[in-house]
């Protein structure tokens, strides 16, 4: 059985990581790179075998579970260390191992000069392993291992240049912000166990419609908690602040972790728990709003940044906002579709930016670039393709996925969501081409002492592959052909949800509690698919994208003085440029009061109040003893006197 190989998929990178981590310094750079890429290759090949094995499963069986051992448990609570393979997992495995492999190859070239090369690849492999655990775990807690594991690795990798204070701070920040999300996630898991008596995905999703009341309190709390967990990992409002700072890490890290895989974990989790979310319309609305809001907000910030990687980081936040919006309106397929295409083009963009940075010796400020097109053609063309993709120009992959999200946000959601999406799309096109024009076109503003050069093959090849994927990735879900939408059909078993059945159970439960169920009939009206609206939307969004590109062209090529004039004296710009002062706000509201309060607790409460009380008691006793101590004169006869006095009083007492 090929599926028996499942557990090897995360194991290979783990082994690679251990070898590199412990012996990396001894075996030399070549071997380290070979082991890292080799383990990824093995993992990828295993995934292919597992895929084949999955296809050979008997009809009607959609999930394959492999329990390796029982992890821990108490009483009737048991967690397995088990993996599951289902369509969603397979998609994610391919994204992780495939893109992971490409980025590994790129990193071998990019990190060549680094001293602690081995450390980087140990973390890198470990990260992939954790990410695979995340997507393959068959229960919430195993997912949580991966969930925390990727957070940990991103902590290591962001803080890779640990001698830089900003890098350390960014790493710590990432981990702690992630922990805030994890806190909610853990609570959700506990609540789920409380209700279901199990935390196995299959069982929970199966039992959910029977045990939870539609729109009831329990499901709303659970899903809200899960969603908070997802915002932490996927950098959504209000926990997005760590991601832009995470750009302190080496560029391949940004590409792998902060674009292609880890940040999409939240989306994956939402889709994985789609049944629960479907039961809670309130949470869905919140998810969609937060997603849309993040998409717009991050895009506006992205327009004003000058650090090439930060722009891309905000663009990532914005794109993931899209995915969340898709989840929020119930278009899970669209979310996964966008996740996949985003992984392609964003990885390519990040790697391209890495190539640029590499080519001009570590400069990241776009104001010191320009005109690089002629120096690094391969980088330029791949970058341009990806930029067009993200902007949503047909027929590249991003166009299809983004369009699907927009279509569903209008049809399944409402016009507000669609408005959010389309304006974010406009902004995206604008700032991406602002990036392209500032970096590759126009006058060269590069420091004259630096001679820009194209990166080695090791780095450009991955770019080409990714650009290719970004071009054709749209094939996964062509519009108009809903019967033929590959991804949709593929994911159907995972996303299957019988609303009518769930409502029936809820009514039953409410009835038993002596309550009347509200009228849910309108929820069951069938939705129609309207091809014309879809086509109209496509045309409209293409126009919007082109407008954005043209706008950028006017602003940054034709009239480079325009941005200056346009923003002169605008208070809003200052605010956007400083990221709406959210970091400062968090600092003032959470960090500083905590630290100061803790100091107060320690110095006042601990040292003065509690210890003061104890020491005070001791001092009082001490004072009394000092008074009593004068009785102890040291003269023997005095002591004898006391004995006599005592004896006499005894006698008196006996009278």
């Amino acid at each position: 059985m090929l599926l028996k190989l499942t557990c090897l998929i995360p194991l290979f990178p783990l082994i690679g990581s251990i070898i590199n981590g412990f012996f990396g310094l001894k075996i030399g750079k070549k071997a380290v790179g070979f082991i890292a890429c080799g383990s990824m290759t093995l993992s990828f090949l295993t995934s292919v075998l597992v895929y084949v094995g999955y296809l050979m499963l008997p009809e009607g069986q959609h999930v394959y579970e492999q329990v390796v051992w029982t992890w821990f448990g108490a009483s009737d609570f048991n967690v397995d260390f088990g993996f599951q393979v289902d369509p969603l997992t397979l998609v994610m495995i391919f994204v992780v191992t495939g893109i992971g492999l490409i980025i590994h190859v790129y990193a071998v070239g990019y990190m060549q000069e680094e001293f602690s090369y081995y450390r980087f690849f140990a973390y890198f492999n470990l990260f992939v392993s954790a990410m695979l655990l995340l997507v393959m775990g068959n229960n919430f807690l195993l997912m949580f291992i991966g969930w925390e594991g990727v957070g940990l690795c991103s902590y290591f990798l962001i803080g890779y240049y640990f001698e830089k204070k900003s890098a350390c701070d960014a790493g710590t920040k990432a981990f702690i912000v992630n922990r805030v999300g994890d806190f909610a996630f853990l609570l959700a898991v506990m609540y789920i166990f409380n209700i279901f008596g199990t935390i196995d995905f299959t069982e929970v999703m199966h039992a959910a419609p029977e045990k939870l009341i539609y729109a009831g309190e329990a499901v709303t709390i659970i899903t809200m908690l899960l969603f908070v967990g997802a915002t932490g990992k996927s950098a959504q409002i209000p926990l997005y602040t760590w991601l832009p700072d995470a750009m302190e890490g080496p560029t391949p890290v940004s590409a792998l972790i902060h674009a292609a895989t880890m940040v999409t974990a939240g989306v994956y989790m939402l889709v994985r728990c789609s049944v629960l979310f479907n039961l809670s319309p309130m949470t869905m609305t919140v998810v969609a709003f937060i997603g849309g809001g993040t998409a717009i907000m991050a895009a506006t910030i992205g327009m004003t940044q000058f650090d090439i990687k930060r722009v891309l980081a905000y663009s990532t936040v914005s794109q993931i906002g899209y995915m969340f919006m898709a989840c929020g309106v119930g278009a899970y397929t669209a979310a996964i579709f966008h996740l996949v295409t985003h992984a392609f083009f964003k990885a390519c963009l990040f790697l391209g930016s890495g190539s640029v940075i590499h080519g001009i010796h570590g400069e990241q400020d776009m104001r010191k670039m320009g005109g690089l097109k002629k120096h690094m053609p391969i980088t330029y063309w791949t970058f341009l393709i990806s930029a067009l993709t993200i902007a949503g120009i047909p027929p590249l992959a991003g166009f299809f996925s983004k369009d699907e999200v927009l279509y569903h946000s209008l049809m399944d959601g409402n016009i507000i969501f669609w408005g959010m999406g389309i304006s974010a799309a406009l902004l995206t096109a604008f700032y991406m081409f602002r990036l392209v024009f500032m970096t590759f076109h126009g006058e060269s503003r590069v420091d004259p002492s630096v001679h820009p050069h194209e990166s080695p093959k090791m780095m450009t090849m991955p770019l080409v592959v990714l650009a290719g994927l970004a071009t054709v990735g749209g094939m996964l879900g062509l519009p108009f052909l809903h019967g033929w939408h590959i991804l949709h059909n593929w994911l159907e078993p995972v996303l299957h949800f019988d609303l009518a059945n769930a409502l029936q159970h809820s009514e039953h439960m409410l009835h038993e509690a002596g309550r009347h169920a509200p009228s849910w009939a309108h929820l069951l009206e069938p939705k129609e698919h309207n091809g014309w609206i879809e086509f109209a939307l496509m045309v409209f969004s293409t126009v919007v994208a082109i407008t954005g590109v043209v706008g950028a062209y006017i602003f940054y090529i034709k009239r480079p003085d325009l941005p200056e004039k346009f923003t002169q004296g605008q208070w809003g710009l200052d605010m956007v440029q400083n990221k709406y002062y959210v970091d400062e706000l968090y600092d003032d509201v959470f960090v500083k009061p905590t630290v100061e309060g803790s100091n107060l607790l320690w110095k006042e409460c601990d040292a003065k109040a509690i210890d003061g009380a104890v020491n005070g008691a001791a001092k009082t006793i001490g004072w009394f003893s000092r008074q009593a101590q004068t009785l102890q004169s040291g003269f023997v006869r005095n002591y004898a006197l006391f004995i006599v006095v005592g004896f006499i009083s005894l006698l008196l007492a006996m009278f």
Binding site: L641, V644, V645, I648, L651, L652, M654
Partner: protein
């Protein structure tokens, strides 16, 4: 008859005891003490405790008092050292206290002894107080305390040697 012997002996003892504490010179005190010990030995004989009486003479009047005299000589204490007495006011207070003590104890004895029937003392066998009887009791019922006492004496001996030999600091 017995009373005739008892009262003089008792008076003798009390007088010498007072002599111990009121004598100005330590040597005088010591000699008074020897006298008192001898008197007490007489009283023990009167109570038919012959063995103890002998011990009293050998150990107390002999060994212990010799030791006292020896130390007094060794330290070469001058006669009539005025620090031998506490101050006058203090002495008054202390005498009053001691008086209280005496009254208290005597009253208690009186109270106890005269409130219970004390008319039937046991008739003593001839063997009472002989070495044989004491020895038998000592080596049967009280053999453990006896051994402990020997260890005590040994320890005291070693201790005395150590203390007198090394300088205290």
């Amino acid at each position: 008859m017995e009373l005739l012997i008892f009262y003089p002996l008792a008076g003798f003892c009390v007088a010498l005891a007072l002599g111990v504490i009121f004598n100005k010179s330590p040597v005088g005190s010591a000699i008074s003490l020897i006298g008192m010990m001898l008197g007490l030995a007489g009283i023990f004989v009167l109570q038919q405790a012959h063995f103890i009486a002998i011990l009293q003479i050998i150990i107390y009047a002999g060994a212990i008092m010799v030791l006292f005299m020896f130390v007094i000589m060794l330290l070469n204490l001058k006669q009539g050292e005025n620090e031998g007495w506490a101050s006058r006011e203090k002495n008054l207070l202390l005498s009053v206290l001691t008086g209280f003590l005496a009254i208290g104890i005597l009253y208690k004895i009186w109270q106890v002894l005269f409130s219970v029937d004390m008319d039937t003392p046991a008739s003593l066998p001839d063997s009472f107080g002989t070495v044989a009887v004491i020895g038998e009791t000592l080596f049967t019922d009280f053999v453990l305390p006896f051994e402990v006492a020997s260890i005590l004496l040994l320890t005291a001996m070693v201790g005395a040697v150590v203390l007198a030999k090394t300088k205290l600091d």
